[in-house]
């Protein structure tokens, strides 16, 4: 620890003005401040600060993803590790490249994006597609807007959206049958060439064809689907952690799931033959994963609390509509991106209303 600190101290002049590696100062700073709390102090009142910083904030999301990761390893095997490595390496490279070009700090946002991205992909997706997807997501979804904090769309979803349109077959047909038993697929590496382990249908596809998967399987997650979305139990565990730490706002989650359940219930009541029950819909697909980890991204959701309620409603309703009335079997990704588009507008409306009320105050 001490020797590491000394190493940083010794290397520092190389990255300062006039040093040999001056352009890579953002990388050095990011590493230094990763290992050691920053040395900066306050200069004026308030003289003390809350311990929470963006690093901590973002690492809470990663902690919340632990149950999801464990479930994914159990059901779909070790290939997730290579996907994570590729996602972090490529996403991190784009982030570093832009930090160096823009001469700004490296933001912690990519730590979350890099982990979320593989979790929303099919488990056998070729690694080069993972790389292209994450690069596109980080580049178009985030850096072009100016980096973390200024982006409109969730970068991970932008990447997935790109892949879904560019490689529709790879993104929708090669699913893995989940592992079972004591060890599951914990010691297996399933890729697209292991034909035995592959299946072509997720529960939502099967539902369109008329067979409903059991609810308990959906809840525990031994179904095929995107890497992180299958186990409702794991997602709820991590999601509750996010809500308890107040990293995610409960309003967005309640509103999204509430409106989703409401519309699904209305459809079910009207035509029980055609539409699946509400709980089934809640546990199938990625609505829970999206509601807990994607809609709650503070940057791309509205700031205002009233805005969050409306935002959740847009996403919830849109998901049900896309799932049940379009050619797509799953609608969470498009619904959230749609919500992202609306978020600034919703905020603007709420701001206007609140400012009008403030103006009345003397």
């Amino acid at each position: 620890m001490k020797s590491l600190f000394k190493l940083f101290e010794r290397a520092k002049p190389l990255f300062e003005d006039g040093g040999r590696f001056r352009p890579f100062k953002p990388v050095f700073d990011a590493l230094e401040n990763f290992f050691f709390g920053p040395a900066t102090t306050t200069t004026a009142a308030p003289h003390i600060r809350d311990p929470l910083d963006v690093k901590r904030f973002m690492s809470m999301v990663i902690v919340a993803l632990i149950p999801v990761l464990l479930a994914s390893f159990y059901f779909f095997g070790l290939r997730l590790i290579t996907m994570l490595v590729v996602s972090y390496a490529v996403g991190g490279a784009v982030e570093v490249l832009f930090a160096v070009i823009r001469k700004e700090e490296i933001n912690e946002g990519f730590l979350v994006t890099g982990m979320l991205f593989p979790l929303i992909l099919p488990p056998t997706l070729p690694l080069w597609m993972v790389a292209i997807g994450v690069a596109f997501g980080v580049f178009v979804g985030k850096e072009l807007f100016g980096g973390t904090g200024r982006n409109i769309f969730n970068p991970a979803l932008v990447g997935r959206c790109f892949l879904a349109i560019a490689y529709p077959v790879a993104m929708s047909s090669n699913w893995v049958t989940p592992g079972s038993g004591f060890t599951g697929r914990l010691f297996e590496y399933i890729s697209a060439s292991d034909v035995d382990a592959l299946t072509s249908a997720t529960p939502l596809v099967l539902a369109k064809q008329g067979t409903l998967t059991e609810l308990s399987r959906l809840f525990f997650g031994n179904i095929s689907g995107s890497v992180g979305e299958t186990s409702s139990l794991a997602v709820i565990l991590g999601g509750v952690f996010l809500l308890l730490t107040r990293t995610a706002n409960w309003r967005t989650v309640v509103s999204t799931l509430g409106s989703f359940a409401l519309l699904a219930a209305i459809l079910r009541v009207n035509d029980p033959e055609r539409f699946a029950p509400v709980l089934w819909h809640l546990c199938a697909g990625s609505i829970l994963f999206g509601a807990f980890y994607m809609t709650t991204d503070p940057v791309t959701s509205p700031v205002t609390n009233s805005g969050k309620w409306l935002y959740g409603m847009i996403i919830g309703f849109a998901t049900v509509l896309i799932r049940n009335f379009t050619g797509y079997v799953e609608g969470v990704m498009f619904a959230i991106l749609l919500g992202n588009i609306f978020a600034p507008v919703l905020d603007e409306i709420i701001f206007k209303l609140r400012l009008r009320r403030l103006a009345l105050e003397e």
Binding site: G37, H47, D53, E105, T245, V303, E362
Partner: protein, 504 residues
């Protein structure tokens, strides 16, 4: 809730009254606020400091700048006489806290008082200072006494925070017994010994008013002192007691005035803390200059935090000797949220100081700081294990505890803001240089409590941005006003010339 209890109490009196109260009840709800629990809370004992040998009276304090000297170098001055006045603030005087010899050119920005005579209580009590003379038609005797004996500087206007016009008539008076910022001299400690002076001061203050309401802000807890105060002023129909939750910064006068439904357009709102009322009593009942004061010295770097009885100008080195841990520290004039750093060129206690806070300077860099479970760090968010702990005083230092990042729209600043504005929105406007929009977003309602800067995970110094923007807006407004006046002047001269032409 404070109102609810008030209402319930009134219910017992009569239900006609309650109908009236319900109608007149201010609708403003206290929102936001957050208690920062920091180590080094000053204890309830008041230590009397030994008589000083030399006094360094700073000419500049938070609101005042005593530039107009009333004494000459080398002259002796007796206790309670003015050393200098502030021409910008109705000539409010800086009183000599002791009898001594004046040295003007020894230290920059200070008036030094040497050959100090110890304070003799008996003589100081009844001797009326000579400089008090009454001009009929100006101030009444009472106003004059308040002003000349140094009690007026405890008054401030709730909306502007500046010194109110001594000749003016307030629309209301707010008296707060609370100091919620860590750490300022606590009202309850000052009241404990001087409760009689306090109630007498209230009566004196009331005699200055015609019909204006007086609000006494009390903590929303049942302490022995609170009951005693309640009992003492039960008969005073003209004092309305208001209880507020003990959360920073609910003792802020601007917030209280808004909460009470007072409007800035309707004249000043005199606001005072407990020490102000005691000063009023001292000036009006005993005709004694207000020179002794009680300050707190607290903070994580103070070995034995306590209250001290001192006078303005007391040498800081003597005051803090043996009190502070032997490491790099930052000494603040005031509390941790709004205090100002005492620099190397400040030698004595300034006249407005009501507390010194000492913080350790941040030196140690923690290994993997952001990954620590955080059982020992308390946060506004719930991202640390300390969430499972009861409130505990934290050993905070001057660390920024994170790196500067763009706003991530977490909304914490809005939740914590006691003024009901949206700091994140104003920040975004200011970032884009949209001053007019920031003004529309009511940046003027900001009370500069510093809570938004405190909670911001991106470590954006919102408070400083807002203070700066408010200053620029103010300057622009003055500029426009000046231009308008010039235009009018021009028009007038043109008209005058035209008239001249016509006559010719």
């Amino acid at each position: 809730m404070g109102f609810l209890r008030l209402v319930v109490k009134r219910w017992l009196v009569s239900d006609v009254q309650i109908c009236i109260i319900l109608f007149l009840m201010p609708t403003m709800k206290l929102q936001g606020g957050y208690n920062i629990n920091i180590q080094g809370r000053p204890g309830p004992t008041i230590k009397k400091m030994p008589e000083p040998e030399i006094l360094y009276l700073r000419q500049k304090s938070r609101r005042f700048h005593f530039t107009k000297l009333r004494v000459e170098d080398g002259r002796s001055i007796s206790c309670g006489q003015p050393l200098a006045v502030d021409p910008e603030n109705y000539n409010v005087p800086l009183l000599a806290p002791r009898t001594g010899t004046v040295r003007l050119n020894q230290l920059d920005g200070h008036i030094v008082l040497e050959d100090i005579q110890p304070l003799e209580k008996e003589t100081a009590v009844f001797k009326q200072p000579e400089h008090i003379s009454i001009h009929p038609g100006h101030l009444s005797l009472k106003h004059k006494l308040l002003f000349d004996l140094g009690a007026w500087q405890f008054f401030s206007d709730a909306f502007t925070g500046s010194l109110p016009d001594p000749m003016g008539n307030p629309q209301a008076v707010i008296i707060s017994t609370l100091s919620l910022e860590p750490f300022l001299a606590r009202g309850d400690i000052q009241l404990d010994e001087k409760l009689l002076n306090f109630t007498r001061g209230l009566e004196q203050l009331q005699s200055l008013l015609e019909y204006q309401p007086m609000y006494l802000i009390m903590p929303k807890i049942d302490t022995e002192l609170a009951t005693k105060v309640h009992e003492h002023i039960r008969g005073y129909a003209w004092v309305e007691m208001i209880e507020i939750p003990l959360r920073y910064p609910f003792d802020n006068f601007t917030i209280l005035a808004r909460y009470l439904g007072l409007k800035p357009g309707k004249g000043p709102v005199w606001s005072l803390r407990a020490e102000g009322i005691i000063a009023v009593d001292s000036a009006l009942t005993m005709h004694k200059p207000c020179i002794q004061k009680i300050i707190s010295i607290g903070g994580p770097a103070v070995l034995k935090p306590a209250h001290f009885e001192v006078c303005a100008g007391y040498p800081l080195d003597d005051l803090l000797k043996g009190l502070i841990a032997d490491e790099p520290v930052r000494i603040l004039d005031g509390g941790v949220m709004t205090g100002e750093i005492i620099g190397d060129n400040d030698y004595g206690l300034d006249t407005e100081c009501n507390g010194l806070t000492v913080l350790r300077e941040h030196r140690q860099r923690e290994f993997l700081a952001f990954l620590r479970p955080g059982f020992d760090r308390r946060s506004y968010s719930s991202c640390f294990l300390s969430t499972f702990r009861k409130a505990f005083p934290e050993r905070l230092n001057t660390a920024l505890r994170g790196e500067l990042r763009p706003c991530i729209s977490c909304n914490y600043c809005e939740e914590v803001c006691p003024a009901g504005i949206m700091p994140h929105l104003i920040h975004k406007y200011l970032y884009a240089d949209l001053l007019d929009e920031a003004e529309d977003a009511r940046i003027d309602l900001c009370i500069e409590c510093g809570l938004c800067s405190f909670v911001c995970p991106s470590k954006i110094d919102l408070k400083r941005e807002f203070v700066e923007a408010k200053r620029v807006i103010q300057e622009e407004k003055e500029e426009i006003l000046k231009e308008q006046r010039q235009q009018e002047e021009l028009q007038r001269t043109i008209k005058g010339e035209q008239a001249k032409d016509i006559i010719e």
